[in-house]
Amino acid sequence: MNPFSSGTRLRDMIRAIRACKTAAEERAVVRKECASIRASISENDQDYMHRNLAKLMFIHMLGYPTHFGQMECLKLIASPGFPEKRIGYLGLMLLLDERQEVLMLVTNSIKQDLNHTNQYIVGLALCALGNICSAEMARDLAPEVERLLQFRDPNIRKKQAALCTIRIIKKVPDLAENFINAAAALLKEKHHGVLITGAQLCTDMCKVSTEAHEHFRKKCLDGVVKLLRDLANSPYAPEYDISGITDPLLHIRLLRLLYVLGQGDADASDTMNDVLAQVATKTETNKNAGNAILYECVATIMNIEDNGGLRVLAVNILGRFLSSRDNNIRYVALNMLMKAISLDSQAVQRHRATILECVKDPDASIRKRALELVYLLVNESNAKPLTKELVDYLEVSDPEFKGDLTAKICSIVEKFSPEKLWYIDQMVKVLSEAGNYVKDEVWHALIVVITNAPNLHGYTVRALYKAVQKSSEQETLVRVAVWCIGEYGEMLVGNAGMLDVEDPITVTEAEAVDLVETAIKCHTSDLTTQAICLVALLKLSSRYPSCAKRINDIVLHQKGSLVLELQQRAIEFNSIIGKHGKIRSALVERMPVLDEATYSGRRAGSVPAVVSTSLGTQPKMSNGVAKPTSAPLVDLLDLSSDDVQTPSSSGGDFLHDLLGVDLSPASPVSGTNNKAPKNGTDALLDLLSVGAPTAQSSSSMLDMLSSEQDNKRSEGLLDNFASLSTSSAHSSSAVSSSSMMDLLDGFGTSSSVPVAETSGPSYPSVVAFESGSLKVTFNFSKEPGNPQTTTIEAQFVNKSPDIYSNFVFQAAVPKFLQLHLEPASGSTLPASGKGSITQKLKVSNSQHGKKSLVMRVRINYKAKDKDVLEDGQISNFPHGL
């Protein structure tokens, strides 16, 4: 015998591994062991196979690769004796899973073992099959398992065969129908193991096969009800007793089967009402086993067809659970109340106070459940008190819980705010408590709301000012506050627009500038904050003439910023403050009111926001300088900055507005763009040329922008810059700050440069879908510079004499397309073509120019109280989309 392959005993190996001081040492020991096991395998050493496999399993558990042992398992399984097979199957289950090819090699051995005369060997094979079988094995071995499922004797293998069947039908649902009768027969057995597995099998079969569902409902329901009743009434049975209840595990399996059988069937539900009532009222609840049964029973009652009395009983049980001192019970109660809320929200509302307490529980699992439940409980009537509770709790909650909590509060506040004052108040509170957890779109939305509440401007800016004094470490709060101070600075110092509820404060201009200065100089401020500060300073220079000099100094300080964008803005703004006093006040007028509808529409359309995603993560360049992506630029331009592609409000438009220059009549370029989708270029042209479009200067500006943007994956607006600039004749690669000054000063120079066509090509409308009762027309439009994306306006017209209600249009596209559906204009379609519904679809074609659009559509609506479903495929899209 080879002296090396005999190796150490398992116990010694474990001891050696345990004794290792370092990971490297451990690896060395394992490597040595693996080598000796391999040698032993290659010598086909029968005597030590057993020990080798045991060692391998230990090594596997430590996380080392053991694939070379897989074949060893197969060999052991193929050997005739029970001990070898036993360890072989154990190794197989530990070392392999269903995704490994090697598994196919074992199919034949398992097949032989399933037909073995020794029932324990059959048991081993069934167990392995149940635990790791793949779809292919399931197909190959299903007949054997089916035979074992019906095998008369011994009973013991039936339960294993039943669980094996569960695995098989999960892998290959088509096979379920073969097992229906055998599964139903299991429910007539006496042995609890067979009943448990039989009930589980039936439950799982119902999920994959409607035929099985129907069969069990017709043939087995009475039997199951009787089983459960007998079980509930059965006398003490020591073998199955758990804390005074006979076989709670079987109880639960039977209730789970009833859960499935009673779903959506009033008759079946009726049949089981009595027994459910009995279980719900008679079960002992002082031990976990009893509670587990009750919990399952409540789940079943909630799921089957309505029976008023039972539901009340169930909700009462949950109420009792909720007030339990046992954390587990409270957890499951919260879990179940989530489901109950859709059935009987009134009943759940009664427990609101208790649930709210659970949000403050020390246990994270309970807190999370409770918070989700509270979120579902909020409605118009209780939004205010609930929010107050949650906001109060925000102060003391754990840091790791703040993220979830903040997100939920923001969502509640946005959804249910009865008035703007309350909304702003709550948001200011949240921002000052947990501003760093607030998502970008939330504070963007807040700014939109603020601009839309002219009577609250003064109040808001003062409230934010006060909040920042207290919690300046919350960056998001600082951003919003600085933005507001920039816009409404004079209201801050002048105490304008005082509300009754407010305490007057005295803020001097210098103090307001202090705040912005601190924010821009704070080392933790990121690029977005600094950019907002810079714009605010520009605005303040006109609002606070007395501080203009100081502001100019602060702005000048940013001239040294390593971030190109900030540096550039600083120089531009410096020039505006210093040299253009006359036009300055006009330039820095307030932002026009941001359109709430557009904004919320854009948010609802979850357009992959290139800009907002890049906000948080500034890619670092190798020298450690934060690289300016498109974000800060667009941020300066568009504070809500999440979709630069939206036609009605591109970034440039905002900048245009921001500086308050109206050039449309003067400029031939921008003049055409008032109605057509604006693109940033025009606005920038406007900005830089202030008064007369100087194409030369603007093009160099464009080039500068494009050279910056070329290697970034920015799209839309910035692509426009790039594409336009390549179309212009000039290129200036050297960009110096002095040429920038020239740009701003250069009123005179003008040479005309062809500017690319900005409106996209037009496409004919098509009738996408027409049936006897409905007509769908598609109108197409494209945004310039973005040929991949098509905006489709679908128009639905009702041709029948009936009104359609609950009208829902759904569409699906192949993988190379991306589809985004915007909300429809309505859900009711008037009869006989007297009106229509429109809905916008946005399609991006990743294979633009190669493949044309295709789409499958499905339309659901209710006509004459009947649900109607129409579907079809649309392939008559015009070419070039």
């Binding site: 399993m57 289950m93 294993q160 595990l249 954390n327 020390p362």
Partner: protein
């Protein structure tokens, strides 16, 4: 359905793993690391459930050993606690005392890999197989005796050969 069963010692050493859903070796290591981090740090008296990647993990501590089972969102958590207890009681009966469980899983007895065999008699395909402790004990005992018998036979044959070749 139970997706996997983990036994972790209080020090974070893994004592037993059984996977009923496919996880690659890498994923397994990651799952174990994540879960032991979550579960071992939880204070006593908190509830026995943690939510993890859209699943729930039910755990219970016996002596210095944590028994964890991962289940679907809508499975019955309380029932799984019963199943864990069921498993522990059977182990207890087989090996002697619960307090020594950690020792048992110290792997000194793994050559016979009893804990795995017992688990296989309780769960297959992530579903419960048998609710009677007596039945499980009987099945394991019969199979153990089969192994013993085979061993004896083997040694008696080798004795006979030794005798014959003397």
């Amino acid at each position: 359905m139970i997706h996997f069963v983990l036994l972790i010692s209080r020090q974070g050493k893994v004592r037993l793993t059984k996977w009923y859903s496919p996880y690659s070796q890498k994923e397994r290591t990651k799952v174990i690391r994540e879960l032991s981090g979550m579960i071992l740090t939880r204070a006593p008296k908190l509830c026995n459930f943690v939510e993890w990647r859209g699943y729930k993990v039910v755990y219970k501590r016996y002596a210095s050993l944590y028994f964890c089972m991962c289940i679907d969102q809508d499975d019955n958590e309380l029932e799984v606690l019963e199943i864990i207890h069921h498993f522990v009681e059977i182990l207890d009966r087989y090996f002697g005392s619960v307090c020594e469980l950690d020792l048992i899983f110290n792997f000194h007895k793994l050559p016979r890999a009893q804990a795995y065999y017992i688990l296989d008699e309780i769960l297959i395909a992530g579903e419960l197989q048998e609710s009677s402790k007596k039945t499980v004990a009987r099945l394991i005992a019969t199979q153990d005796s089969l192994v013993e018998a085979a061993k004896e036979q083997a040694s008696s044959i080798s004795n006979m050969i030794a005798q014959a070749t003397k």
